[in-house]
């Protein structure tokens, strides 16, 4: 599969990244090299192979659904670039 500049721009939009024309050109070249390399996996027939998504055989672990102390609001807000003491502030959406 060949990746071109349009693909890279589309993926950048999905990833919420902005690339300059120069960055787009460099990334296209580098991503193409990397994707050509990973195409090596096509040498293997995996039609009967199960996927591994997790290195241990653990299943979901749950804790009791009990209220516990959580981060106080001022501390949770403290690292935000913009907040008003009650909430995170972002540019208007509607």
């Amino acid at each position: 599969m060949k990746i071109d500049k349009e693909n890279v721009k589309r993926v950048a939009r999905l990833a919420r990244l902005e690339l300059s024309d120069e960055e787009t050109a460099t990334m296209t070249r580098q991503l193409d090299t990397i994707l050509q390399y990973v195409a090596k996996l096509d040498e293997l027939d995996t039609s009967d192979v199960a996927v591994t998504t997790h290195p241990q055989d653990a299943v979901n672990t749950f804790r009791p659904d009990e209220t516990r102390p959580s981060l106080p609001r001022d501390k949770a807000l403290a690292a935000s670039p913009l907040q008003n003491g009650e909430a995170f502030v972002v540019p208007r959406v509607i």
Binding site: M1, I3, N7, V8, V11, A12, L14, A15, R16, L17, E18, L19, E23, M27, Q30, L31, T33, I34, L35, Y37, V38, K40, L41, D42, L44, T46, V49, A50, V51, T52, T53, H54, P55, Q56, A58, N60, T61, R63, L71, K75, A76, A78, A79, S80, P81, L82, F88, V90, P91, R92, V93
Partner: protein
């Protein structure tokens, strides 16, 4: 005093021969002497460390790390210290809580010196992707430390701390440990809590120690290992006293040499040092057997799909809202996300987010992510079969010793390929360590990798300790000002 190991310093403190304040002062003086050369520390908390040491001396205590000054990779959340992950995205970020491993170190009596350099968001093999400074190999000026835990490895090798904590997603503890001539262990996936570790690739990341010798590695593992209710991927399982594994002789131990790990591109000096190490393990009583891990050649391709895929998802949290960099000039929400992320992330992080997003996007998921997850099963099965024939696998950690800063930075794929010997352990979730086994003609350290079946960290430590006793490389140190 800074030249001691944890075990030695701990004993002297317990006997009242030295104080923690003296120990911290000694290490701070050492940092002042060599930090210009190593550039390991991103944040150094002199006052905090001295105050904690005074308190440790005043109150006393019998914690296994009582009074011992340590550093940690800047990937762990620390309540009172900046946590940057080596990224402009998190410049100035001070987390509201401590990672579980930071709490455990503190509960054990350790003194926190500060945070050390790393590749941005742990993505890299040289620490050159650190947005603030590039650490240098203590053994040779201008040479890479390895990465991504390069600051940890440099700080330990230069004795600017007694030990450090790192994280390992594809070799990020073992590879810099090898290139800087110290011991580094990636424990079994699930052995150590990751609560408060800034996530890179969640099915691969694991926390582990970088230390001056094998005993200190065991001591650190005793402190950090164990279940944490705040990390549901950590496993409920007893933690042995790892120091009891450090016993003489390897009789009844079968050590496998995977032939695929000695292939094309392996530096002859590295191969020679590893083969010498294998001979020492045989002298110690181990039986050496040939084994095969037939899917090794596919591990880089699998890793560079799975790790970026998971990273693209994990790093979506950096959007300029709750923490980190924000473009204050953007006037719509989407533009704010896009420009904040584009300004905050460096090239390698962007590259991996793009690969990952592409591999997970509609129409490509089956060809890339699913395919890689299936080949991951084949790689895991290779190890299962190998561990039916042996207790331990030994190999080089990296195909070459450290190289010059800047030498490979223009070719991402060439750098990815240098990870070929360390990646598989993360894909399979097994424990692995690096222990020094030689020094090249140019004066650069060479490490041996040991890999074992899930939860067999003790086997790794026993074999590594037997090797260290025989080659004495824990006593060889770099020449620094």
């Amino acid at each position: 005093m800074y030249t001691m190991t944890i075990a030695q310093a701990r004993e002297k403190i317990a006997r009242g021969e030295i104080s923690s304040v003296e120990l911290v002062q000694s290490v701070l003086a050492r940092i002042d002497a060599v930090e210009d050369r190593t550039k390991a520390y991103l944040a150094l908390d002199r006052e905090g460390a001295l105050a904690a040491a005074e308190e440790a001396d005043r109150k006393g205590g019998d914690g296994p790390l009582h009074g011992i000054p340590l550093s940690v990779k800047d990937v762990f959340c620390t309540k009172n210290l900046p946590t940057t992950c080596g990224s402009k995205m998190l410049a100035g970020f001070i987390p509201p809580y401590d990672a579980t491993v930071i709490e455990r170190l503190s509960d054990a009596g350790a003194i926190m010196l500060g945070k050390v350099a790393m590749d941005e968001f742990a993505m890299g093999s040289t620490s050159e992707n650190c947005a603030f400074q590039v650490p240098e190999n203590p053994w040779k000026p201008g040479y890479v430390t390895g990465g991504s835990s390069g600051g940890s490895a440099a700080a330990v090798a230069a004795e600017e701390c007694f030990a450090s904590l790192g994280s390992d997603t594809g070799g990020s503890i073992r590879q810099p440990a090898s290139l800087c001539g110290i011991v580094g262990m990636k424990p079994t996936y699930g052995r150590v809590s990751r609560y408060g570790l800034v996530a890179f690739a969640s099915s691969l990341d694991q926390v582990g120690p970088l230390t001056k010798d094998v005993r200190d590695c065991a001591l650190m593992m005793n402190v950090i290992a164990g279940h944490d209710p705040r990390d549901s991927t950590s496993i409920v399982r007893d933690v042995p006293d790892y120091t009891t594994m450090l016993t003489e002789g390897l009789q009844r131990m079968r050590i496998g040499v995977p032939r695929e790990y000695f292939g094309h591109g392996l530096d002859p000096e590295v191969e020679g040092a590893v083969r010498d190490g294998i001979a020492m393990l045989a002298d110690a009583g181990a039986e050496i057997v040939d084994v095969t891990l037939p899917h090794t050649e596919y591990c880089v391709a699998v890793y560079y799909l799975i790790a970026p895929a998971e990273a693209s998802s994990n790093l979506s949290r950096f959007d300029g809202v709750r923490f980190g960099h924000r473009d204050m000039d953007a006037d719509s929400l989407i533009d704010m996300y896009r420009s904040s992320r584009s300004q905050g992330f460096g090239d390698e992080v962007k590259r991996r987010i793009l690969i990952g997003t592409y591999a997970l996007s509609a129409g490509y998921y089956d060809a890339y992510y699913k395919k890689a997850s299936q080949v991951r099963t084949l790689i895991r099965d290779d190890f299962t079969r190998a561990f039916e024939q042996c207790d331990l696998l030994v190999s080089p950690v990296t195909p070459t010793p450290a190289w010059k800063i800047g030498e490979k930075s223009d070719d991402p794929l060439a750098l990815y390929l240098s990870d070929i010997l360390t990646i598989s352990a993360n894909l399979a979730g097994i424990p692995a360590l690096s222990v020094p086994c030689g020094i090249s003609k140019k004066g650069l350290p060479i490490g041996m990798q040991m890999q074992a079946a899930h939860f067999n960290e003790g086997t790794l430590l026993k074999a590594a300790w037997n090797l260290e006793r025989r080659n004495g490389l824990n006593k060889q140190k770099p020449t620094l000002p």
